[in-house]
């Protein structure tokens, strides 16, 4: 646990040597986040591994309750304890394991190296602080700026996220802003310290449909400008197709499939991924409405209670292809093409189904 002693600054300098060469910023290995509740042990995140490369957007997809948000909060070590705790795995930011950091060291990572925007812009901003002060706070915490510098930077940040009249808006309180504007302000806070990783947890779910596209565009644009790596958490495969380069699909706390966006849409290997795809409307199918197979399909059943996970594959009870082996034994990950991983006994059948 030598990394324990490293501060965030050292993390940044060490970066140059080892990790930057390979382009990997964040490396999550076997992450386990459990909750200890009256109903029993909840394995909210169970042995999830993934990597995040420089300047890329990785999407984490799944139904609500599949562990996406808990994964995100685990990366920042913001799991409320009790009832929850990270019980295993490692989260390496440029080679330094965040799990081993002290709480003080971890605070220097939050908002500075890794920052996060949340689903609910209406409630995620402090109602009694001005927008400017809330942006300035991160700058004062991490950048050693004076108050005047921080406030000047706050105005710049508001301009960057395209809030009109930024000089005016910095002095205003969250309730004076619309939902879309508040989410822009959240993005301004998150990007103020130019973090290496931005986690966006369903950033558009709570917004009007017309605003959603604008916010996504803004995130993509800023990411390209600032070179930030983004983890985008969403349940919307449409959003994934437009913004991400790589995807991991989560189900009941586990990663069931990982692929580049192109591979995933071209050749989904997990029956759950297929189910998700069949449940979104597709324009090309709607246009050809006279053809037979246009009805949207849903995945039968619901996500099982995480306290009562089935033995074997967690998706088996809802899976149309499940056989005895699926119910008995959890499948290992296997690689179909470079970077395309799946945990399914019957992925060959799934793959055959798509091509046919």
């Amino acid at each position: 646990m030598q990394e324990n002693m490293n501060t965030s600054k050292q993390v940044r300098t060490d970066a140059a040597g080892t990790a930057a060469a390979s382009g990997t910023i964040l490396e999550v290995e076997g992450l386990q986040t459990y909750f200890f509740t009256r109903q029993g042990l909840v394995k909210a995140v169970d042995r999830v591994s993934f990597t995040l490369n420089k300047s890329e957007t990785l999407a984490i997809v799944g139904e609500s309750g599949c562990g996406k948000s808990i994964t995100a909060l685990s990366l920042l070590r913001l799991i409320p304890d009790p009832p929850g705790r990270i019980v295993g795995g490692s989260i390496k930011l440029l080679g330094v394991d965040l799990i081993g950091l002290s709480e003080d060291q971890m605070r220097k990572v939050r908002g500075n190296d890794i920052s996060m925007i949340f689903q609910e812009p209406m409630t995620s901003l402090n109602p009694v602080m001005t927008i400017g002060n809330q942006i300035a706070e991160v700058l004062l915490l991490h950048q050693g700026m004076t108050k005047a510098q921080a406030h000047a930077k706050a105005v710049d940040m508001l301009r960057l996220v395209k809030i009109p009249e930024p000089e005016q808006r910095v002095k205003e309180y969250p309730h004076q802003l619309s939902g879309g504007m508040r989410q822009r302000a959240m993005i301004a806070i998150a990007l103020a310290c130019n973090p290496k990783v931005l986690i966006a947890d369903e950033p558009t779910t709570a917004l009007d449909v017309t605003i959603q596209a604008q916010i996504l565009e803004l995130i993509v644009e800023l990411q390209q400008r600032l070179g930030t790596a983004v983890i985008l958490i969403t349940h919307d495969l449409g959003v994934v197709a437009e913004t991400a380069q790589r995807v991991i699909v989560m189900y009941a706390g586990r990663k069931v499939e990982e692929a580049s966006v192109g591979d995933l849409f071209a050749k989904p290997l997990h029956p759950y991924t297929r189910g998700l795809m069949n449940s979104i409307p597709r324009l090309d199918l709607i246009r050809g409405a006279e053809t037979a197979n246009t009805r949207l399909q849903e995945i039968p059943g619901i996500v099982p209670a995480l306290t009562a996970l089935p033995k074997g594959c967690v998706f088996a009870p809802r899976c149309p292809l499940a056989e005895d082996r699926c119910r008995a034994e959890y499948p290992d990950y296997k690689q179909d093409a470079p970077g395309h991983w799946v945990a399914c006994w019957r992925s060959d059948v799934v793959a055959g189904g798509t091509s046919g």
């Binding site: 200890f36 509740t37 009256r38 109903q39 029993g40 042990l41 009790p82 009832p83 019980v87 295993g88």
Partner: protein, 299 residues
Amino acid sequence: MAIAGDHQAELNKAGANVSSRWGSVAFYIRRYPLGAIGALIFAVFVLTAIFAPLLTGFDPTSTNAKASLARPGAAGHHLGADFMGRDMFSRIIYGARISLAVGIGSTLLSCIFGVTIGLTSGYFGGWYDLIVQRVIDIMQSLPLLVMALVMAASLGPSLSNTIIAIAIPSIPNIARIIRSNTLQLREMPYVEAARAVGMGELSIAIRHVLPNTIAPLIVLGTAQLGSAILTEASLSFLGLGIPEPHPSWGRMLSESAAEYVRTAPWLVIFPGIAISLAVFGTNLLGDALRDILDPRQRT
């Protein structure tokens, strides 16, 4: 990693794997130790009131000049005797009856009126609700003890008047909380559904809304019970509550108590302990019930 072995202790602490009824009781005791202590104190308080005659040989009202201001332990008086030679132990034991009677009586009375007013004004709204709200505002602007004092003085000292004098000032608080609770319940889908299938407004209010106010009512009622016991003690202390010769704890502290502070401290100490314990136990229990029953407070 030996997950199961590692986490069993933590799971037990969180109360997992509890299946039997007694296991559940054990869980609540472990999870809410203060509430369990409160429940215990409250049970002792109630049992004392019920079985008072079995617990003491002395009549709490019979005087005995020879035992005047007897010290604790003297002549079989465990806690001494007052100026008129009445046994303190038996007066405190029987005092539990008065406290409990006033507490439960006024709590029931204020809950019946409070729930009726709160439920109807929250459910039906309109002018009626506006007027009720204003009246509640007005009544809550007067300190509870002042209002109870004036009512007790107006009605004259007696057990039933004391109950009324404490119950009426307590109604607004209960009505206000039940009203806001009803406002939330009124918007619930199952209420909408009941309306859609043509159920009458009154039967919806009674069948769907009323049962859902039970949990907050239990919490309110317990808090009210503690507060009523305390108010009775204050009223009786000021000479406006329970009249002689009833053994009221507050009353026992009233008669020139400042004088006894010097000469017979046991007359001051024991009734005070009785009041404090009864109220403390009730409040501990009420707090735990709130944690268990009020989902907003649950973490």
